[in-house]
Amino acid sequence: MKDDIQTREDRVSNLKGLGSSRKRVEDARFTQGKGNYVDDIKMPGMLHGDFVRSPHAHARVKSINIEQAMALDGVVAVLTAKDLEPLNLHWMPTLAGDKQMVLADGKVLFQGQEVAFVVARDRYVAADAVELVEVEYEELPVLVNPFAALESEVVLREDLEAGADGAHGPRKHHNHIFLWEEGDKVATEQVLDNAEVVAEETVYYHRTHPCPLETCGTVASMDKVNGKLTLYGTFQAPHVVRTVASILSGIEEHNIRVVSPDIGGGFGNKVGVYPGYVCAIVASIVTGAPVKWVEDRMENLMATAFARDYWMKGRISATREGKITGLHCHVTADHGAFDACADPTKYPAGFFHICTGSYDIPVAYVGVDGVYTNKAPGGVAYRCSFRVTEAAYFIERMIEVLAIELDMDAAELRRINFIKKEQFPYQSALGWEYDSGNYHTAWDKALEAVQYNHLRKEQAERVEAFKKGETRKLLGIGLTFFTEIVGAGPVKNCDILGMGMFDSCEIRIHPTGSAIARLGTISQGQGHATTFAQILATEIGLPADSITVEEGDTDTAPYGLGTYGSRSTPVAGAATALAGRKIRAKAQMIAAYLLEVHDDDVEFDVDRFVVKGAPERFKTMKEIAFAAYNQAIPGVEPGLEAVSYYDPPNMTYPFGAYICVMEIDVDTGTTEIRQFYALDDCGTRINPMVIEGQVHGGLTEAFAIAMGQEIAYDELGNCKTGTLMDFFIPTSWETPHYTTDHTETPSPHHPIGAKGVGESPNVGGVPAFSNAVHDAFRPFGLRHANMPHDHWRVWKIANDLGLHV
């Protein structure tokens, strides 16, 4: 093909590669109602499973009577712990090194705990039968407060041997799980004891829940004829589920196929392994029929995967000029009834030791005590890398409190403590190596964009007017500068059940110059089929539109650790680029052969190899693909395929500057976001449209968390927020409008320089909203008030400060 009429720019834009706001290929099916989610799956003879759940937060199970339920027409089986015990499946290991009851074994430890599993012809019969199972309970004292739990004589986990070590070392008390420490405690305390200025605060990051619009579910189908188990499910990590299912069931791994079809949002909720999955598998083995289990919203909110619940006690020290000298943090972490954290790191508090944030802090210490209580287990990274959002909230609150202590502007305090551009790669006091950053530039751009000085002036005038009685509204300016740590991760820091957190990509180029790429990750709305094709288009010179991306079927996709913690782009994205480069290396040999020159005499140019110095002599990638299959090339195997497994050398460190301007009505506690500016730096930008969408979504989840969303319990352990009536999900009406912006500081160690973005807006958004509330009341003496800042709590701040008299 020598008629090269296109310009080079045309050829680049034809590819729709890196940097293109390519429209999503997923959307055609979703907009026409043709997505394929788990609950859409129907199999011949399929049965439905439903749980009998505990109404009590702590009780002994005296007896379970299934007679009446079994007598109901259409009921096929009712499973209890007794039925699972012979299979050794009444308990299962958690991702955090603990174990968890699959069905209540003698007692229940949280409200909503799974007690029995009913299997019936359809979901109505199953629900009817759940009502007919009689369970006799003897109530036990309930512990919902982690501090009280550590003092209490009540033993929650009677299954654990008293005094024996847990998965993470010694346990101080029967309700204690672990103490984990990082940093130099002695040196930090010395610095704090001798500091010119010290600010102290206890910051609570309340319990919340990812609550994707689609709940968790599975369809398990055991084919007894050929011995194969097929498991469809809302799994953020299908390959890990296969391995876990194999270990638990004893079915050989090649006989298990796990498929994640379309997933209706995950946000961390769908990383863990839940009793419903195990029960559906067992029920399918027992009945010989496919069994579907899909939780309802109430079950979702009450029983699977809470997030946060961190009590963070901090001390931060500085010179009188505001240079931070040390940071000390102790966390009391409420893990609920079982330590079932979906933690992909080797550390029981995940990445919490990123809590020195964006600041050059010479010495620091963190200690985290994990505690059992009578609350739901889980502990997932709700749109963040595990425990990063807690860390970011903690440091961004501590900075604000320190600014009060120093009587300083919080923007200025941040500026003088930022890690400087020339300090990267930067070694943090708590052990992380930040890859790249340019914080000052981003900060200046953000402050300039919102006209920060004007805002401060307006705020001062507002305070004056308020004091004179001319207005009842206050103005808050919420600042945040966050550094994320994503891309779990280097096998040296990260694993799940011992499996290193690499990821993978396998590419096959078809003879006519189109391709299929399969990855170990799984999209839950992030648009992988669109964006990974773009990475590849740029790498191999075939249009993104000619590249199919497939994920989620363990029979076809290469092994990978899944999608969460913003790891897909940093890890699988890198594997994709590297697999593409392998393709290109082989294509170069083929091109050289076809052009009758030496390998080194051709070079890659957009979509072709050209002879150096003679650009009119070239072979397009399409031509090369064809030749790979139809020409016998000496010394080169036929075909054009590659696979790459990528273990990242380091995490990536996206960062950003968020500013929230909020109006607060002092008399009603209502808040209104007047402006929200979000600057993100996620390194190389693959698809700006998708990035912007991720930022909007993450900010909205942050808005929810900061301004009203929580999982709350009463003192008896009743979950008070089990429906969408009580659990705040903002609608289009309350949700603010966002302005997005960016800088671009590529990661030096990632093949294309990308860092990942999906979670940044949640990590940075929460402190931005929360700091805005605090900032509005700072002139009246507020230091800290815990989230969520719903109207009542904001009203209460004003009332406590005496602003209502």
């Binding site: 907009t31 359809d122 619009l213 379309d262 949002g265 709305g525 909205t700 609608t731």
Partner: protein
């Protein structure tokens, strides 16, 4: 078990007659009985709107309507709004303006939006935000959904004017 009753519905233009328990929820009738899986279940308590369908010209939440209440009605779901050869303007617009991510809320969103634009053909951003408040989305933050709907409205109005 309650007695079954005879039900007749017209779903996306097709006549459907069957026996059902009166307590069967319309969303299950559509999804389980008829394999119309565009409308989804997000809560079963009328909060999320993922199950939105059109019943006799009104956008309703099919998770909180018994099939008995729907007896005799005409129902349109996302599957009946357009087809691959001729998409509804809103279906195009959501794609064009990145008004969806995981897609789980999308059928309900688009279905509700078709009614909104019939009721208010030329809405302001405020009217769209208010009119769509019964449909929750966990992924997009709504900004691009609102944009998609406003763009569709503009396009539909332009087409209308051109036709007149």
């Amino acid at each position: 078990m309650p007695d079954k009753m005879h039900i007749q519905l017209t779903v996306n233009g097709r006549n459907e007659e069957f026996l059902a328990e009166p307590r069967e929820l319309l969303i299950h009738t559509l999804r389980e009985r008829m394999n119309i899986t565009g409308p989804h279940v997000g809560c079963e308590t009328s909060h999320c709107g993922a199950c939105t369908v059109i019943v006799n010209d009104k956008a309703i939440k099919a998770c909180t309507m018994f099939v008995a209440q729907a007896n005799g009605s005409e129902i349109t779901t996302i599957e009946g709004l357009g087809n691959p050869d001729s998409l509804h303007v809103l279906q195009e617009s959501f794609r064009e303006h990145h008004g969806l991510q995981c897609g789980y809320c999308t059928p309900g969103m688009i279905t509700r939006a078709t009614k909104l634009l019939e009721e208010t053909p030329n809405p302001t951003e405020e009217e769209v935000r208010f009119g769509m408040a019964g449909n929750l989305c966990r992924c997009t933050g709504y900004q691009n959904i609102v944009k998609s709907i406003l763009a569709a409205a503009a396009q539909m109005n332009a087409a209308q004017e051109a036709a007149e």
